[in-house]
Amino acid sequence: MQFAGTVTIDAPRAEVWKFLTDPHAVGRCAPGLESLEIVIPDKQFKAVAAVGFGSVSVKFSVDVEWVELDPPNRGKLKGRGSAPGSAVEGSSEMILRDLPNGSTDMDWSADVVVFGTIASLASRLMGSLTRRLTGDFFNCVKAKIEG
């Protein structure tokens, strides 16, 4: 599944960058996040998050790696997660642009592939669910940065 969008955040690019590359900061907006561990700062972190898809609820352990970091312009991360009977792989990219009014535009895109129980049991729900979760996530991010 591929998703993309643009979010305008009423904050300077550096501030937005700082927030979005701090897993603990972002983590506060990640739905169902249960734990977060920095393995190598600015390089690798682990997260555990519970996600519910319809009647199916699973807890994913995800390993995330920054594969590109061009502060404060562009960041790309890849992740692979697993849950009992399910797995997820994906990458996500963000590009920050200054807006004339001092705000920052973030273009984001994500490519997520799910495998296993989640994929087979919940595929019908996946699209709408993901839209809802990303919507919530970016609203939260925006709110947190904009304070």
């Binding site: 697993s82 009992p84 009977g85 399910s86 797995a87 792989e89 592939v113 799910v114 495998f115 296993g116 129980t117 989640i118 994929a119 087979s120 049991l121 595929s123 019908r124």
Partner: protein
């Protein structure tokens, strides 16, 4: 006491097995609770193709009540990590290093109960490295495609062909008319309400295994287990397979699945009984599938509509291993019945089996080894040709049918059809449905922009595998058997090598024996499914029970009657040749009062048999059918299509079946109703598909649509009776006819409804979105 009715052939005897089924007293695998029984649950792969880098079991073993976690490495110590398939391919029980399809077994967790085992499964951690996936058999055949099997040269499994290619090609070259279509018969699942499972009970003291399992072929399973485990000392006399009540088989309970081997291994190791039961998704996603045939079909004919030749080329998707349940010499089953009910002079079929990253298979979906695939194709193509030459599909069929006087008929693909009256069945169906009036109605509606279609399917099945000359499974000839023992009081017990999964064998076999012996059916206990007690048989599938074991019943009964005659002669002090049989007794010709009933004879068999004759009254028959049987029928379906939703509404469905002599008309009727529902379902609803990553779609009853009573149309059934000339009681088998014959009638009706738009074919399942898209493509959809 009032005399008990004999209830022989033709009697609508109530199903004796229903006494327990309708009271919830059936004995299914999951009803079994043995003292100290443990439960196994299985860790399955989320990936359709991946390398297993590590399996970490420490957290699982820490779950209270989890006793063991085993992997392929565990089984490898005993060389049982792999097992042979019925097609002599190799199937993993548990993998050593790679998984080949989604939901494949990866490890097994043994716990004190089902919940504990499931908790253990959730706690097993597996590290995978995903590998490239191929789910499309055409792509799998392309150069450079990801290789499914490390141990094979390519993804091409086998090529098989039948018929005279050159003659067929020549006929096509000379044809006045040809039609061609690509037809996909999608992957579906039998979706028995009871999933697969077993209870393995190892008796360490005796070195003996009892395996209670939901198998349609207990004896074959026993021999296979013995062949697999012989090196471990588990030889055939130490294995007992018991198949209790089965909640639906339909072909899905013929193969051996890894869960069985795992349960056995764990029972042997622990000494405790071990139960394994699939949940719904495991059943749908990991057991053998049905169909998945991509057929490129061509017919040739004359302008007047006379068919001259047939060419079918098929790509068969077998998933990651060729675990098809076919007669071993027939990799595409009986697909070469493809000439159907028509008198083709030339025919050629070829099939190529292909590996993909999908579950192993395939098995038949309530059909006699790929017969539905053949029937669906020829019946779809017949309609195409009919329309092409401008004939009404009914007239076209009448023109091309094999005629009654041509039987026994040798088909261009080598089969000898035993008997048939195809025109008779079609005519009866047309009369029942009011064919002419319907065509008039259709024409009127078409004028009004309403889409109504009439579809015919005049199918011929081929069932009752089969004659030992050609039919075997792993070398085992496909005979079947009946043993009958008459007790001193004239009651009897009879056992069979088959295994009912709902067919009503307990009822019908007793009727055959009652007919032959005159012992009331109610006094004959029928048993199947226990390899320690039943005579060897190849099991129940492919509508073979009546053609083989039903014949064995009659033959065994006749042997009993022959001995009974000798005893009667002794009792009546008459010569055998002076005795005459009348159902239930022998009497002296011309002196009807000098008679001995079968009950008196039975008592004498234990108390007053002739000196020199052995006591007892029993016989066994292992029946080797001289030929297959060829049930047939004509189905006519009337559909209305909703232009707003694309929904296909089956308004009428007339099914005229000819299965030869009907043992129990009520059961035949029931079999046809069930079969029609299972023909309707894949025609309109059922399909299993995969995304490009090998994720299954259709692994549960939310995504895989079974018809309920709400969706199922009202069936109108009729019959003609053309006995099989070679079967002892003239019966042919009917369990699968309707499943085989129905989908083409529905598909033909849909295409018939849309033909004038230019629609020539729709692959099943013909779902509302698919129809709506067609309507839209041809500008006929109603949009808001």
């Amino acid at each position: 006491m009032a005399a008990v009715a004999i209830q022989g052939l033709g009697h609508p005897r109530k199903r004796v097995e229903d006494a327990r089924f309708i009271r919830g007293k059936g004995n299914y695998i999951d009803d079994m609770k043995l003292p100290g029984m443990l439960q196994v649950d299985i860790v399955r792969s989320p990936y359709a193709h991946a390398k297993i880098k590590a399996i970490r079991t420490d957290k699982a073993l820490a779950v209270p009540g989890v006793l063991a976690v085993i992997t392929g490495e565990t089984l490898k110590q005993y060389n049982v990590h792999n097992m042979p398939t019925l097609m002599s391919d190799t199937q993993m029980v548990l993998p050593l290093d790679t998984v080949k399809y989604q939901f494949q077994e990866v490890a097994a967790v043994l716990g004190t109960d089902r919940y504990t085992a499931a908790d253990g499964v959730a706690a097993v951690e597996v590290d995978y490295e995903p590998l490239p996936v191929v789910v499309d058999p055409f792509k799998a055949l392309e150069p450079g495609a990801p290789k499914v099997r490390d141990d094979k040269e390519s993804n091409h499994i086998w090529h098989w062909e039948w018929g005279d290619r050159a003659a067929a090609d020549k006929a096509f070259d000379a044809a006045e008319v040809t039609v061609k279509e690509n037809i996909y018969i999608p992957r579906i699942h039998v979706a028995s309400i009871e999933t697969c499972g077993c209870v393995a009970q190892w008796n360490a003291t005796e070195g003996h295994l009892t395996l209670y399992m939901t198998t349609q072929a207990p004896h074959a399973i026993r021999t296979v287990v013995a062949l697999i485990t012989g090196h471990l000392g588990l030889s055939e006399e130490k294995i007992r397979i018991v198949s209790p009540d089965i909640g639906g088989g339909f072909g899905g309970k013929v193969p051996a699945y890894p869960g069985y081997v795992i349960a056995v291994a764990l029972s042997i190791v622990t000494g405790a009984p071990v139960k394994w039961i699939e949940d719904r998704t495991e059943n749908m996603a990991a057991d053998s599938f049905g169909r998945d045939y991509h057929i490129s079909a061509e017919l040739a004919g004359k302008k007047d509509g006379t068919l001259t030749a047939l060419r079918f080329k098929t790509i068969a998707d077998h998933g990651y291993t060729d675990a098809a349940a076919n007669p071993s010499k027939m990799p595409a089953g009986l697909f070469h019945i493809a000439t159907g009910s028509y008198d083709f002079k030339n025919a050629f079929v070829e099939v190529d089996g292909v590996y993909t990253n999908k579950p192993p298979g395939g098995i038949a979906y309530r059909c006699s080894f790929r017969v539905t695939e053949a029937v669906h194709t020829i019946e779809r193509m017949a309609d195409l040709m009919a329309h092409e030459v401008g004939l009404d599909p009914a007239d076209f069929r009448m023109k091309n049918f094999i005629k009654p006087e041509q039987f026994p008929y040798k088909s261009a693909l080598g089969w000898e059809y035993d008997s048939g009256n195809y025109a008779g069945a079609l005519q009866k169906a047309m009369d029942m449905v009011g064919y002419k009036e319907l065509r008039k109605e259709q024409a009127e509606k078409r004028k009004r922009g309403e889409f109504m279609g009439i579809g015919i399917s005049s199918f011929t099945e081929i069932v009752g595998a089969g004659p030992s000359k050609d039919f075997d499974i792993l070398g085992l000839k496909m005979f079947d058997s009946c043993e009958i023992r008459v007790h001193p009081t004239g009651k009897a017990i009879a056992r069979f090598g088959t295994k009912s999964q709902g067919q009503g064998h307990e009822t019908t076999y007793a009727q055959i024996l009652a007919e032959e012996l005159g012992i009331p059916a109610d006094h004959i206990k029928i048993e199947e499914g226990d390899t320690d007690t039943a005579p060897y048989g190849l099991g129940t599938y492919a509508s073979r029970s009546t053609p083989t074991a039903g014949a064995a019943a009659a033959m065994a009964a006749r042997k009993v009657r022959a001995k009974a005659k000798k005893i009667a002669a002794h009792l009546l002090e008459a010569a055998e040749e002076d005795l005459q049989w009348e159902q239930g007794k022998f009497f002296v010709k011309g002196s009807p009062d000098r008679a001995k009933t079968i009950q008196e004879i039975a008592f004498a068999a234990y108390t007053n048999h002739p000196q020199g004759m052995e006591a007892g009254l029993e016989a066994v028959s292992y029946y080797d059918p001289p030929n297959l049987t060829f049930p047939f029928g004509s189905y006519i379906c009337v559909v209305d299509i909703d232009r707003g939703t694309g929904e296909v509404k089956v308004r009428r469905f007339v099914a005229v079946d000819d299965c030869g002599v009907r043992i129990n008309p009520m059961i035949v009727e029931g079999q046809i109703h069930g079969g029609l529902a299972m023909g309707f379902a894949p025609a309109l609803m059922e399909e299993i598909s995969y995304d490009e990553n090998g994720n299954i779609h259709g692994s549960n009853f939310t995504d895989y649509l079974l018809p309920t009573a709400v969706e199922t149309p009202k069936w109108e059934t009729g019959e003609t009776v053309t006995p099989s000339p070679h079967h002892p009681i003239g019966a042919k088998g009917v369990g699968e006819s309707a499943t085989v014959g129905a989908p083409a009638a529905i598909a033909n009706a849909v295409v018939d409804a849309l033909w004038h738009l230019g629609v020539r074919h729709v692959d099943i399942p013909i779902t509302p979105p698919k129809v709506w898209a067609l309507l839209k493509e041809h500008g006929a959809a109603l949009e808001e």
